[in-house]
Symmetry: C2
Subunit: 328 residues, 2 copies
């Protein structure tokens, strides 16, 4: 298996990504194509990865979040993203992962690699943490305007993904909605409810409200990219606020450093059961080859988890299974 | 001013609502119509509120969240909600507040009291806490399917509301979207952005992402009821999860009760700066008379805040100002 790692555009630099790649190399039979600054990449990996098992595509250019994605992939021919996706088209490459601009990733995947023949829209999903483990939220922002038939497609792709990559036997699929009753929601939600109710190969368990997203009540949560993005980011905003207030509180405590350390450690331990770094990455589904988006602020652990997700995506041949299911 | 208080359907019973009403009575020249269980209401208020300043409409029936709202207001003629809205139609009543079913409140307001003549859709807004105070999120679930012209109407109504009721001189209005750039979002968001950019009487400051809802970057945040509901509930779900993990952490600490008390108190103090109870209630805008939805689990403090919001809604004659602005 040969995996392309776009090492540019990560908030914490390439070091964390490369160390995570080395961690995976020690566990799996895998080869890498690293795209990025050769001078920085080589010293980190050359003692750890056999020279037959990696190549480096040297470039310093990358696409930023400020760039218009479609224009950027046309104009920035030497950007790491474009070079990486061009390389992905070669027969010997199996999958790609990047922390870079989500828009550029979507554009590159769609225009350089291409959608699977029978897929109307590629969809960016995300494995999110729940109190009982994790769930796949699909879509999370790739498709702001959708039809019910697209959501049906997202559901089938997401269902295959969690089944194969996360080993869930019969994933519980739910539709994100503003009430649990079948008659609730906007026109899109009602039409999608109808469509999903007719699908025989998935376990459709009805609607889920946004307050239950993190409770572990579903394996796959289906929604349009606008709502999915808002659900994720609103929760992120609330977490930021509460963690800030908690930190402020601990700073105000009139206790010795030892006790403070103990308290912080206990809180951290419990919160880590709910850390997105344990889950990692977001698969882009519906593209001809496996594509993974890793968090912009990935560290070694989260990038490791995302890489493992991607290697499973490749090994289980999720692309072929999705193709087959969508042809039914 | 005469305010109708629907005392049934609150999670914590009528006592908290009545005590909050007494608190407001001590501050403002106000009369009440209490709708609910006379046997429970009378003993609590009769020593505190002059008998000329209240009446009680005695009933035990109420509409639950399980009832179909439109059918319920037709069939449950003696429910507190229906009796309350019938009374609101009398010339001497100025406003109404209820903790009961949101759907029934919307249906009663629309079908018993009626929308303002020039309003296409009534909108349920919510004052939400932010790190800098509060903001109005509009809509939060009354309108799952909307057009850009409805969102324009919501914006104008919300702008008047925070200006008059919360005294914000030039409210900063933003559109909830999945990116800050003007070209971002779904078709609805793009059309709404266009419309709002042309409004001269509001300060439209562009898009806001869901992660910034609670940061205090806007006074009015406009969105459709589907997205608004998801934004609110997703944040609520995240807060529930994090507070649960925090509580678990405190329970695991190996410290004396005195220290634990001190830690909890400090955390509570900081979190209370961000408590929805400090904000209170959700105005329904676009109805011929002021209507307020209070939280189902209202306590004395939150219901007091909602009542104060409602009395300002009445005193500032927000209904007339909205009418005037929409006629422009």
């Amino acid at each position: 298996m040969k995996i392309i790692v776009d090492t540019l555009g990560a908030d914490n630099g390439e070091k964390e990504l490369l160390e995570a790649s080395i961690d995976v190399y020690k566990e799996k039979k895998i080869q890498f194509v690293f795209v990025g600054d050769k001078e920085k990449i080589e010293p980190i990996i050359k003692e750890e990865i056999d020279s037959n098992d990696y190549e480096i595509i040297d470039t310093l250019e990358y696409i930023t979040n400020e760039d218009d994605p479609v224009r950027a992939i046309r104009n920035k021919k030497n950007s790491s993203m474009v070079l990486a996706f061009n390389r992905l088209n070669d027969y010997d490459c199996d999958g790609i992962i990047s922390c870079g601009s989500t828009g550029a990733l979507l554009a590159s995947a769609t225009f350089i690699t291409g959608r699977m023949d029978n897929v109307k829209r590629a969809s960016l999903a995300a494995m999110i943490p729940t109190l009982k483990g994790s769930a796949l939220l699909i879509d999370t922002g790739a498709n702001a305007d959708v039809k019910a038939s697209y959501l049906r497609e997202f559901t089938i792709m997401g269902n295959v993904f969690v089944k194969e990559v996360y080993g869930r036997q019969t994933p519980s699929v739910k539709l994100l909605n503003i009430g649990v009753e079948s008659h609730k929601g906007n026109k899109l939600a009602k039409e999608t409810y109808e469509l999903l109710s007719k699908e025989k190969e998935i376990q459709f368990d009805g609607n889920i409200e946004a307050r239950d997203i993190f409770m572990g009540k579903a394996d796959v949560i289906v929604t349009d990219g606008f709502s999915g993005n808002i659900a994720l980011k609103s929760a992120e905003g609330m977490a930021t606020v509460l963690m800030g207030l908690l930190k402020k509180s601990l700073g105000e405590l009139d206790i010795d450093n030892n006790s403070l350390y103990m308290i912080s450690k206990t809180i951290k331990k419990n919160l880590s059961t709910f850390d997105y770094k344990e889950v990692g990455g977001a698969p882009l589904l519906g593209i001809k080859k496996p594509v993974y988006k890793a968090h912009g602020n990935s560290d070694r652990r989260s990038f490791y988890n995302a890489l493992i997700g991607l290697t499973n995506y490749v090994e289980k041949d999720v692309v072929s299974i999705i193709k087959e299911k969508l042809n039914d």
